[in-house]
């Protein structure tokens, strides 16, 4: 039996980025994916000739010299044709009940937009964004700085966004506008480490791109490179067991009865899923902790198309918030409640190959009755389809009440937390895996190192939410195998050259 240096479980972005870094460093690597399609939440699908993304809607930090671009350059990924820029002068329109504001790929522009609405708070707005910028620069795996200050890192990972907001302004309306990107990590302002919120915000303040041919094309490009570097990808190989001896994984077994052996195992799947295989080898201190960690909210997506997109400016996303209070921004109530937030992805007017998605935060418990049915059974279940349609109607009605012309909208499909769970293996269909609160991140994070000595964990469901977060966490996990300092130094050199150029 072939012995690999590293077996990677799951094929989401963090897993593939890990595979690319390791094969670049001449490690023998294989990736095991349970599905017929690689990519995890980067999965996209085509229906009636129109492409839809399930999880990857827009990405930050992709301009030359920015962190994601630097990482892809380092990994020799040809980026031509994969991405297209959204509207730099205003890529996100945040619609609150009493005001509307645009975020731009420019700190000054965004500060100015907000200051026009909150005139008396313009100084606070500027100081807040200065602090976002400063904190993002301190993040070692974002700015590729190997000489970071540990004490400063601890501070930004131990301070909540809400605490930071309170130091700049006490006005809930302004706090809500500044905390809007809680939608992009799924953690409430009182719980999210400011470091995470700052990186997510900063990454979009410099550049925002959509995926020209969907997340799948991006994943395919990464996998071509991975295979060219000798990496192997095995599809429809669901891991069902890990053999342990002396706190080391000796063998990975899949449902098809195949065995894989390696010096190291990297898991990119949900931490609760991977540790379920080795539970009896773990101390109660860890399993009790793991059991008590809550999940980030799940989501419900309507896939479809506006035949008439006149209502929407091209290359902009729209957020419709129901409340103007930071603690209510991403609240999830019952299925019959008006959604706290509705996200409407940009209509891609560059071509009509990609469709639009409308997303709301949702809970698995809304669909508890159907959680044990397989996809085909659900498809034919009248009550399941009926509740999906009822929720979709409610969303469209809410949009109409906010002035959106929905007459030309045509719904193609609706996915629920059950769909998310089945496709991505996330517990209860959570959007970002575990709830990335202060209690589960930074020094308190579950990984990358684990109590199983040759198991590293990575990915947005464990370490850092979002696509950029997944990439960063892949980098961080590989750092344990090939040295994080040298890795960051290599990346820094590329970043420096690209920024100069």
């Amino acid at each position: 039996m072939k012995k690999y240096d590293v077996v990677i479980i799951g094929s989401g972005i963090s897993s593939i980025i890990s595979g690319l870094i390791l094969t670049k460093h001449r490690k023998s690597v294989c990736i095991l994916e349970q599905h017929y399609t690689p990519g995890g939440y980067t999965h996209s699908f085509t229906k009636n000739g129109v492409m839809y993304d399930t999880g990857a809607h827009y990405i930050g930090a992709l301009d030359k010299g920015r962190p994601f671009h630097t990482l892809l350059t380092y990994l020799d990924i040809p980026m031509d044709g994969l991405f297209f820029p959204l509207d730099r002068h205003g890529y996100d329109i945040l619609e609150f009940p009493s005001f509307s504001v645009e975020y731009a790929c420019d700190y000054e522009q965004t500060i100015s937009n907000l200051s026009t609405i909150f005139r008396k708070e313009s100084d606070a707005i500027r100081r807040y964004f200065d602090y976002v910028k400063k904190v993002a620069l301190q993040f070692p795996t974002y700015e590729y700085d190997s000489s970071y200050d540990e004490a400063s890192m601890q501070k930004i990972m131990n301070t909540s966004l809400q605490d930071v907001l309170d130091t700049f302004t006490r006005r809930p309306r302004l706090q809500s506008a500044l905390a809007a990107y809680c939608t992009l990590h799924g953690v409430f302002p009182k719980d999210v480490p400011f470091g995470i919120h700052a990186v997510v915000t900063d990454s979009l303040m410099h550049s925002v791109h959509g995926l020209r041919n969907g997340g799948q094309a991006f994943v395919d490009a990464l996998l071509v490179r991975f295979k060219n570097q000798g990496g192997e990808l095995f599809m429809q190989e669901k891991v069902v067991d890990l053999d342990i001896e002396n706190s080391l994984i000796k063998k990975v077994t899949t449902a098809s009865g195949k065995h894989f052996i390696a010096e190291w195992i990297i898991s990119g799947i949900h931490p609760k899923a991977i540790f379920s295989f080795v539970r009896k080898h773990l101390k109660k201190a860890f399993t009790n902790r793991l059991d008590n960690i809550q999940e980030s909210a799940s989501f419900l997506t309507i896939y479809g198309e506006f035949k008439d997109v006149k209502h929407f400016a091209p290359l902009k996303n729209y957020y419709y918030f129901q409340q103007e209070s930071p603690d209510k921004l991403i609240e999830v109530g019952t299925a019959s409640d008006t959604p706290s937030c509705i996200f409407l992805s940009h209509p891609n007017t560059l071509d009509r190959k990609t469709g639009q998605t409308i997303i709301i935060p949702a809970k698995m418990e809304w669909f508890k009755r159907w959680e044990n049915l397989c996809s085909n059974e659900r498809k034919n279940d009248g009550a399941y389809n009926s509740i999906k349609q009822t929720i979709a109607q409610k969303i469209l009605k809410t949009l109409a009440s906010r002035g959106v012309s929905i007459d030309s909208w045509k719904t193609l499909d609706i996915s629920t937390p059950i769909t998310n769970r089945d496709f991505n293996g996330s517990i209860d269909g959570s959007a970002y895996g575990i709830y990335h609160s202060i209690d589960n991140t930074g020094v308190r994070a579950l990984g990358p190192r684990t109590h199983i000595r040759n198991l590293l964990i990575t990915g947005q469901s464990t370490l850092f939410p979002g696509m950029l977060g997944a990439a960063i966490s892949g980098l961080r996990s590989c750092g344990h195998l090939i040295g994080i300092r040298s890795l960051l130094e290599e990346l820094k050199k590329i970043q420096h050259t690209n920024r100069k150029g």
Binding site: Q154, K284, A285, N288, R289, N292, D439
Partner: protein
């Protein structure tokens, strides 16, 4: 919370989660040598301490602790600061 209450709470947490027996839980007990705990166990301990005692522990100070006595002192100090 007085110091004795803190000692009891910390010891209960250690017995419950790390399956350590009471006779090992002495102020002089060293994490690694006497209790067999490593750096990852220390992270789990930090989280359990915070949850059970409802305090946020100063991570930089927690890195310095080497014995159980150091833990009692740190938690006592932090709970005093809170009150």
């Amino acid at each position: 919370m007085n110091r004795d209450e803190i000692v009891n709470k910390v010891n209960d947490m250690l017995m419950q989660n790390f399956e350590l027996t009471e006779d090992k839980l002495l102020p002089s007990s060293r994490f690694v040598e006497d209790l067999g705990l490593d750096s990852l166990d220390a992270v789990d301990m930090l989280v359990h301490l915070e949850n059970q005692l409802n305090v946020k522990v100063d991570v930089e100070k927690f890195r310095e602790v080497r014995t159980l006595g150091n833990v009692y002192d740190l938690v006592y100090e932090m709970s005093k600061e809170l009150t």
